[in-house]
């Protein structure tokens, strides 16, 4: 196995581990949570629990970060183009 094949295998292996960890968390989360009744969700519906309350245009915030940083994901909006200084 040459160096590039080894690197590729390692990356693939890390991706598999990463996905497995995410799925495990999701499964544990779903199985471990007690059911919260609708009438118990008053606090969850409070404006301060909604990120949009304080910074509604999450897409604009994300667009700014996308002009300065090389990553993506976790964004709240879709779109393309730039409208920026890149």
């Amino acid at each position: 196995m040459n160096s590039s094949q080894s690197d590729s295998f390692e990356v693939q292996h890390m991706k598999t581990n990463f996905l497995a960890a995410c799925l495990t968390i999701v499964i544990l989360m779903l199985s471990a949570c007690a059911s919260v009744k609708p009438y118990e969700r008053e606090k969850l519906a409070d404006p301060i629990m909604d990120p949009g309350t304080a910074f509604s245009k999450q897409s604009l915030e994300d667009k700014f970060y996308s002009t300065r940083e090389g990553s993506m994901g976790g964004a709240s909006g879709i779109g393309g183009g730039c409208g920026c200084a890149k």
Partner: protein, 380 residues
């Protein structure tokens, strides 16, 4: 890679552009509140680049469980004069003058509720500026489970862009670029006071992924260099995973939002993002929301300080270099219902709020930006 030569487009004298915004952050809920919103977003940085964005958004129920989503957005960008050799992303033509351009953006979409726990939405998006065009379509499915304690969200997006270059002689060239994206997220209520969201995203970029304006000096020998246009690989696979925890703190009338995101791609860029946002009721109609965000990334594998003739790919893009950044700031939000006791005739403002935010962004490349946001929201 498709290359299209055409006449230069004229700068859009668009005072109002139309964009239909899929209010993605609202999609964790199956049902929208009808809402009208105006946002003004202004950024200045220490390179004297200024971007001002005006955005108008509407979410309106048009028939039972059918919601129309509309967003209009205009960016006004001003980039200062540059040297003949520069990493700035702007035409070299008339480089001794400030480069100004507008970007108009239109997005519209429909969301349809199906049964009590499912909704489907589709959006179309288009944006245009003097040297960039983009069109995009997206669909998403939201499914609520377990008495709405769990929400699953699945979405896919396809974008087709034309990256333009205005040359020094005024001629114009377009380069094609595609983006394919998919994401999956799950929101889980943990208790009457807390919930968690987890998501994964994948993206494939194809075509012209460089900046046509960015120039790189390549070393021929110890003394001489030649100037070449930045060249990136024509394909990029990107993936990210994120987790968010929100907690209501009853004793303080406050909430805490914690976020973490991990990112990696096949250009070997990796990043980590952590952010903390708090929201505190100062009075029953006044919220203060401080934020801190930390970001770190390494560089892509072909990034170098100096390039030679043997290098096939070379970049001058600061986004692909190692860096650390910080964002710190805050927002204040005021609900107009506070005025109703003294001015009952203003009852039409009962569901109206306004907010003002300021953030400072700075990174290890000595870049600093100031970001202002003002917003007026009417819910009906």
């Amino acid at each position: 890679m498709r290359q299209i030569t055409s006449m230069p487009r004229t700068a859009l004298p668009v005072k109002l552009s139309v964009r239909i915004l899929l209010l993605w952050s609202c999609l964790c809920c199956t049902v929208f509140s009808d809402q009208l919103e105006y946002t003004l977003y202004h950024t200045t940085d220490n390179a004297e680049v200024k971007v001002t964005t005006s955005a108008f958004s509407l979410a309106k129920t048009i028939w039972e469980r059918t919601v129309l989503l509309l967003d209009v957005e205009l960016d006004q960008v001003s980039i200062p004069p540059v040297d003949g050799v520069s990493g700035a992303s702007r035409p070299q033509r008339n480089y001794s003058e400030t480069f100004e351009k507008n970007r108009g953006q239109l997005m519209f979409g429909l969301q349809q509720g199906i049964g009590g726990n499912t909704s489907l939405s589709a959006t179309y998006y288009s944006s245009q500026e003097v040297d960039y065009q983009s069109q995009s379509g997206a669909i998403s499915l939201i499914q609520e489970l377990f008495q709405k304690n769990t929400t699953l969200s699945l979405s896919a997006q396809y974008s087709s862009d034309l990256v333009g270059e205005i040359r020094e002689d005024g001629s114009y060239t377009d380069y094609a670029k595609e983006v394919q994206k998919a994401s999956f997220a799950i929101t889980q209520v943990l208790s009457p006071l807390s919930l968690i969201r987890i998501g994964v995203e994948g993206e494939r970029d194809l075509g012209f992924l460089s900046d046509p304006y960015r120039k790189i000096e390549k070393h021929i020998d110890n003394k001489n260099t030649i100037l070449v246009t930045e060249t990136h690989l024509p394909e990029r696979w990107r993936s990210a995973a994120w987790i968010e925890y929100r907690r209501y703190i009853s004793g303080l009338d406050a909430s805490l939002h914690l976020n973490y995101r991990a990112y990696r791609d096949d250009w070997e860029l990796q990043s980590h993002t952590v952010s903390v946002r708090a929201n505190k009721y100062i009075t029953s109609n006044f919220i203060f929301s401080p934020l801190y965000r930390y970001y770190t990334q390494n560089g892509v594998y072909f990034y170098k300080e100096n390039y030679g003739l043997d290098d096939a790919y070379y970049t001058g893009d600061h986004k692909l270099q190692p860096k650390i950044s910080h964002s710190i700031g805050g927002t204040v939000t005021f609900f107009f219902k506070a005025l109703l006791d003294q001015h009952p005739d203003l009852d039409f403002l009962e569901n109206t709020s306004t907010s003002l935010g300021y953030f400072s962004y700075f990174d290890s490349k000595n870049y600093q930006a100031h970001i202002w946001e003002g917003r007026l929201r009417y819910t009906f």
